[in-house]
Symmetry: C2
């Protein structure tokens, strides 16, 4: 197994990515090989500064970097030698089995769709995030920003994608899928939810448990929350701001500690033909390590094959 | 000035509404008269139990009650003798200058639109809520649920309504109006936001400061947050859930204390031809008192006239 990592992605790259790769190496098995994609000299220098042998890794040297603020489609096209573009080429050619980056989210999304491409039958790939539950454990929220506007059948598919992720990678049996809405009853909500509800209610593809509301996100009445990417992104950023507020106010609590993105590593892009994970721009070495381990879990659990089967 | 109060609205009515009316009476002036609309015997009994003279109030006896779970339009039509229906008739006839209730939100919205009607030029009335700011003070969020689906020109109008409320009732000079979105740049967002941004940028009707994201809601970079009612309702309920979590976890903090809905009394319905306020279903006497005072402030500041002028 070869796991690709973008060394140039994230606000603290390449230092944080190198340190994260070292930490991941320590817990990976011998046959789980990390492929470090980026400026080789810079990467090797940081490894040596940390007295860590470069021989533990494979390297693919790249000469360009896609910045955090760059336009995704333009950057992917105009920078073929960037770490993200090269990473996706390696993934497409099968030289690595997963690719992750804490860099430009849009470029990762566009790169995934241009290179390994969307799984046949999947209308729109989705980005996911982890939601800590008040009673312990976690849930999945999707989409969190890949698709600002969605149609009802796309939300139905998000239910399938989220359910498979929850079951395969997070070990949640028969995940309960809920629709984020503004009322409990079937007829409530905007036109999108009104159209999505009957599709989700009647599908044999997952275990639909009905509507939830904003107040239910952290409750144990569901495992997977489905919404359009606009709503999901607002929810995600609002939840992050609450976490930051509790940190600033020095509230110590086990529940709020589980908001820390570092533990989860990043957001899988679901619905493309290979494991792809996008990390938070501010990723620390710990976050990078967990991003690598998440992409490894996606390989090991054959999540992509399961998604392909579901959409056959 | 006559201020109408629905005595039958809310989970703890009529006890909480009577006690709230008593507390409001203590701070109102002699010419600010409360009109108690509901079961007169029950109301008078509770007043007497509290050694408070019924002579301080006017009464309008009603014989029906619209329950919290009833279908709004059906209930308004089928229960003409309900406290909400009678209250809106009094408001329409000019016998009271404001009407507030902690009862069925949908019935309040439908009742307002059927009786005093939407202000000419206003496409869709909106419901608002107060947002506490981290640095102190407060902001306005709208719409929080009256309109699950909105068009861009409706969002533009919400900017006008929110700006006038912030300035008139909450004394915020030249309120900064922001569009809730999923990116800072003009071109970001769903189709609705992409269409609303240029309208808001080019309007002379309020002080537009651009897009904000979910993480900015409690920040001091804007005073009024505009969004569709679906997004606003999800935000509102998520914020409430955070407040409840901090309460349960016994986090004591001035900022979180300002989430307490009791202080704000209720949500004005903006865009109808009279001051109408809807309280939280679980309203306590303190919340009822503040709902009455909010409706009084809406009368005193001539908010409705200002809205009418803006839409002339």
């Amino acid at each position: 197994m070869k796991i690709g990592l973008d060394m140039m992605g994230g606000d603290f790259a390449p230092k944080a990515t190198v340190l994260g790769a070292i930490e991941a190496y320590k817990v990976l098995s011998a046959e789980q090989k990390l492929v470090l994609i980026g400026d080789k000299d810079a990467t090797v220098n940081i490894l040596q500064e940390n007295n860590f042998s470069p021989d533990h890794f494979e390297f693919v040297h790249t000469t360009e970097v896609i910045g955090m603020g760059e336009h995704p489609t333009k950057a992917i096209v105009q920078k073929p030698n960037s770490s993200i573009s090269v990473g996706f080429n390696l993934l497409k050619e099968g030289n690595i089995q997963a690719f992750s980056s804490a860099g430009n989210t849009g470029a990762m999304l566009v790169g995934a769709m241009f290179s390994v491409k969307t799984i046949p039958g999947v209308m729109r790939p989705a980005m996911t995030t982890i939601v800590p539950k008040l009673k312990g454990g976690l849930g999945i929220l999707l989409d969190v920003g890949a698709n600002a506007d969605c149609k009802a059948d796309v939300l139905l598919q998000f239910g399938v994608l989220g359910s498979l992720l929850a079951e395969s990678v997070y070990g949640i049996t028969n995940p309960r899928v809920a629709l984020m809405n503004i009322g409990e009853e079937e007829e409530k909500g905007n036109l999108l939810c009104q159209a999505a509800y009957p599709l989700m209610k009647n599908t044999p593809l997952f275990n639909f448990v009905g509507n939830i509301e904003g107040r239910d996100l952290f409750e144990d009445n569901h495992d997977v929350t489905v919404c359009d990417g606009f709503t999901g992104n607002v929810i995600l950023k609002m939840a992050e701001s609450f976490y930051v507020i509790t940190l600033k106010k020095r509230f110590k609590d086990e529940f709020f500690e589980r908001f820390n993105y570092e533990q989860y590593g990043g957001s899988p892009i679901l619905g493309v033909n290979a494991p792809v994970v996008v990390g938070h721009g501010i990723s620390s070495p710990e976050a990078i390590k967990n991003m690598i381990l998440l992409s490894k879990d996606m390989i090991e659990t054959s999540l992509i094959d399961k998604i392909k089967q579901a959409f056959q």
